[in-house]
Symmetry: D2
Subunit: 378 residues, 4 copies
Amino acid sequence: MPKKIRLGILGGGGDSLIGVLHRVASFINDNYTITGAVFNANYEENLAFAREIDVPTDRIYKDFDTLVEEEMKLPEEKRIQVCAVLTPNFLHFPMAKKLLDNGFHVICEKPMTTTYEEAKILRDAHKKAGTVFAVTHTYTGYPMVRQMREMIKAGELGKIHKVDARYYQGWINTIIHDKAKRSTVWRLDPKKAGISSCMGDIGVHAFNMVEYTTGLKVKSLLCDFNYLYADNQMDVDGTALIRMGDHVKGVIRASQVATGEENGLAIRIYGEKFGLLWEQENPNYLYKISDTEPMEVYKPGHTYNSALSLDGTKLPPGHPEGIFDSMANIYLGVARAIRGEKYNDGEFPTMNDGVRGLNFIEATVASHKGGNVWVELD
Amino acid sequence: MPKKIRLGILGGGGDSLIGVLHRVASFINDNYTITGAVFNANYEENLAFAREIDVPTDRIYKDFDTLVEEEMKLPEEKRIQVCAVLTPNFLHFPMAKKLLDNGFHVICEKPMTTTYEEAKILRDAHKKAGTVFAVTHTYTGYPMVRQMREMIKAGELGKIHKVDARYYQGWINTIIHDKAKRSTVWRLDPKKAGISSCMGDIGVHAFNMVEYTTGLKVKSLLCDFNYLYADNQMDVDGTALIRMGDHVKGVIRASQVATGEENGLAIRIYGEKFGLLWEQENPNYLYKISDTEPMEVYKPGHTYNSALSLDGTKLPPGHPEGIFDSMANIYLGVARAIRGEKYNDGEFPTMNDGVRGLNFIEATVASHKGGNVWVELD
Amino acid sequence: MPKKIRLGILGGGGDSLIGVLHRVASFINDNYTITGAVFNANYEENLAFAREIDVPTDRIYKDFDTLVEEEMKLPEEKRIQVCAVLTPNFLHFPMAKKLLDNGFHVICEKPMTTTYEEAKILRDAHKKAGTVFAVTHTYTGYPMVRQMREMIKAGELGKIHKVDARYYQGWINTIIHDKAKRSTVWRLDPKKAGISSCMGDIGVHAFNMVEYTTGLKVKSLLCDFNYLYADNQMDVDGTALIRMGDHVKGVIRASQVATGEENGLAIRIYGEKFGLLWEQENPNYLYKISDTEPMEVYKPGHTYNSALSLDGTKLPPGHPEGIFDSMANIYLGVARAIRGEKYNDGEFPTMNDGVRGLNFIEATVASHKGGNVWVELD
Amino acid sequence: MPKKIRLGILGGGGDSLIGVLHRVASFINDNYTITGAVFNANYEENLAFAREIDVPTDRIYKDFDTLVEEEMKLPEEKRIQVCAVLTPNFLHFPMAKKLLDNGFHVICEKPMTTTYEEAKILRDAHKKAGTVFAVTHTYTGYPMVRQMREMIKAGELGKIHKVDARYYQGWINTIIHDKAKRSTVWRLDPKKAGISSCMGDIGVHAFNMVEYTTGLKVKSLLCDFNYLYADNQMDVDGTALIRMGDHVKGVIRASQVATGEENGLAIRIYGEKFGLLWEQENPNYLYKISDTEPMEVYKPGHTYNSALSLDGTKLPPGHPEGIFDSMANIYLGVARAIRGEKYNDGEFPTMNDGVRGLNFIEATVASHKGGNVWVELD
């Protein structure tokens, strides 16, 4: 009978939304117990938060380095097994690196690092460590996204020849038009937020979805950004033409100024035989379209779904599960991997997804800044 | 800083879906810890399940009576505070009664009891106990259902004059047409499943939704059942005409043989000024319709929503939450009530909802068996 | 090569919406030419309207009797062949009767007559005349309604056991709450509008749809009306429990006070094997649902549709046709019948539909006024 | 009282779908009568078709030149006033040119010509003729497209900063994968079908929609085509990045190999204040989205719509009109223009739309062939 996995959490304290998402996801399948944490940079707030959510405070550390140091002193059977890295983006890399170097498993928020260079270093560290490493591209945990992947893998669509992914949000619209706001928000400050806003934050999810579902790789891209204002230095909108192989083309569209859009991730994949459509805001519907047959609508929990999809549904059809359940599916896969149990390679996004994400982000910036030229991905 | 509430669980072991739903719901807002349980009538399986989900086995009891007996020996600050009753329907009453008589808080699955008589006895016991009692009409925990209630309460629709609720499922269709199956399934055996199948299991949810959202009471009803086969003794489909006051009328439709329907709970409420539409399978959309203005679509998490609705949303708009989150909202309200914190009376369904549910179920049966006559509710 | 059919029009002048609908429907398939008419009771307006729409005025008559008299003087090859009766409801019967008695074909708006008694007299007259008689239950002309009928006829759903039809509108809501308005509007005056408002105007469409698609007959019903105000004498809302045979039950819901609803006709049919759902406001989608297979969505124009359905689509899939096209399909069927060409019995609603409609309307009134008792249909 | 306009038709005989669409559109508002035609290049078939649809054969001409010659002999009050040009694309230019040179009004199918050069010559001819010239971008006739235009014009969205248009079809998918088929179909033969398949046939509609609704002009574009096979010479898929002014960017996506898509034209427009979404396959819904307010759904026929929109709806809300009605709205606008009545400049697409369309098509080809470079539009 498997015991719960000892989970450490870095960041995610207070009102952090990402904190709630990971914590709940870890609980959902009875696999994890929060053993230690640095929820917050401020030690008092850190402790207070632990008390608020009723986590024992004896292994709430004053900072990340202390956590590693102290945990390494514990015998392996008591030690934190896996750490969830939910800190600001620029901390992902040093923390993940040190965790790997000390033999921990890691669940890392995206973007995995702030540069492609860091990502490759981390890949090397991971290779050496041999532990489990997951990047939380949350949306891949949805049962119908998994079903899409399995149907494509099984050849149901025939050869894929066109891909169209969109990730539209509107929230920066409420900031960008005010000069004072746009020049002070950390999100639009390249020194704080990295080289890309829109592509780095959401475009990369769309990119990952394209590769996750099709099993194909983006080989090159040509991208155009929109900054909206001359004094704004960060992309808030962008469109990337992509090539995924011989005569396989597509487009990735991302925006943070698509006024009124909430969290509009959507993907359309077209093969010789069928097309598949899916939208994140209605995640329990997968549309299989044909030139000659009635459209089919797949829903979670039905026995017609693949094993990978069914594994991610807890209740019978018609009981809508959501984004917490999607993230929980990723945590479930990680738990299996940590325990050395059998799992499918689609159960959670890996180091490879993280590396490719950074490759993509830097390529979009290079393409735009180079004058909308084609840029190869590795 | 609030400590986690000590939760006892009765039933819900093994593959029980209702078990997963309650357990996850209790975890989601960091409010509960599972302290003791009788997950299963078989003690070995009970223990095994506790180990599987990593609950300490020292307070896993061999049966319900032992649980009560042993827990009462513990000092109050260690004792289970609230029990979730997830056992077969006929056990709800005796367990809930004994729990109340011993001063426990109770979270009880629906239908609360198997007869209206029992329900009234339980109501008396609850009055005497003065503890918190919730009946898990899960769907009332959805943010947009709460929003519906608050909009109506605020008078946005004007005087309500028509209500239409539907709860259509198809699953008994896979059983009912086979004579051998339909005569052996416990669900269709009145001795085991009580006086009603369709109305007792799902019609009662639709009824509760009608009263929860409108704040009105069903005063009388006229019901017609469909048994599909002469040798079948349980309703698998039924329609109830309802009256909710002077010229306020409506209909409640329920079916377990609506072939292909999954969990089709939907409600339409019409007032003098506006109508409101909501469907459980797409729970994050609330439609406000008008004879003269564009339809408005409300979604969770937006600041235009009521406090009660917003309290039930954890992430920003566009991140779909589902049925686990809905149940978690009910658990959150119960936690507040147990701690004596302030809470809104729409945060969880109460004893009164349970009592009215049984009143409704028996009224539908009386109406049908009486030849489709009008039957008053208390 | 068929020549255009000579069409006479009674009523439908000026701003009449029903006039536009019929006129356009007659043009769409190049089958009719407007040869004569009494568009309006006022002769000057009648002539003016004819000029406005550029119909020659030589056969624009001062009244209906003159039209019949004068046309009968013409040789058969010049005479109006078919008359569309678009006058106020109480005129349908005398006009249709006289037209039949004089050997004309008739396209009659619904309700065919104002009483069941009249309907039966008209049926006799029709039997004697032997001409073509259509009642314009417009919605049966939609390709996906036809497809529904053909799929059921072919046994795809297995034995039908449940039917649910709804026709919700909200427009009387803008009138009914004002005492002065509700007591003066002709629609709510039984002397002018007949015995029923809601059931007579729209409930009868839902009833017809149920019988048209399933091929079954409603055998008995129990109905409850809502008048909303004690001084209002006409039903503005009603729900009818229906029985269509042994263990085949259903419900027909109609309302004119379903605030915010536009023209909400919808039907759900459940058989042992599959369910079918269709909604008038999105008429080009037919949903086939299953307990075990992905939902299928049928759309017009695809070769997978039945011949009857395909016959009603003019353009390739994805080019939405609407209500004018639906009515045009009925006109096309009538044209074929008039010319003695082969046609399918689902191409237009007939005298029998008209008679059954009146039987239904009177039964709902009798049931409600009798205290919500079961009333048999013939 | 206006008399019907004398309409001549070129092409559109036999099973021609475009023929049905134009003919019906001309009938719908009682404005046109078919006076003369060359339905077909074969004179016998031409005559037979006229007889089949019951058009008098005395002005059915053996060819286009004869039509012009003979009609010019007639006195102006008998002469055909306007000709609908429905012939193969390469004939649009010479026919439209000659018609203009002889003083006829013209309704021309799109693409208006096969080259931008021809388009500009035609523009000159039109300037000289001073008659009415319409290009049938059918989709601009939908009431909700008109409403979109009027809302934007009124400033409801604030400054537009992003546009996203899609036109996805799948039908070439059934041809392209078969080498024999793809090398013989005229559609994929540049000698017969012009320089572009996908952009020329449907991309141009999306382009027109963007300019029609926003009132902005596409200033430059960068386009990538997909030919799918090395031996295929015509684009069957393409994506164009567009710039519409200072920091106003967007994307136009078109495909004929988007497997399973039917006629998927859709447009999303984002301004500082609101976004607007519309899809051709559900043309009666216009979605107005906001970052802070509930989404609003506009539907045709409501008084909250603009005059331009309401002018294009014949029946009350909830009675779906479709593509024939949309084209009929264009014909209505043309009729008003021909009669010298007042009309709104959004009632029908003009010569200017035609010229811009060709400018767009050639720019996409130039961009792709030039190695995905930015190309300016005039």
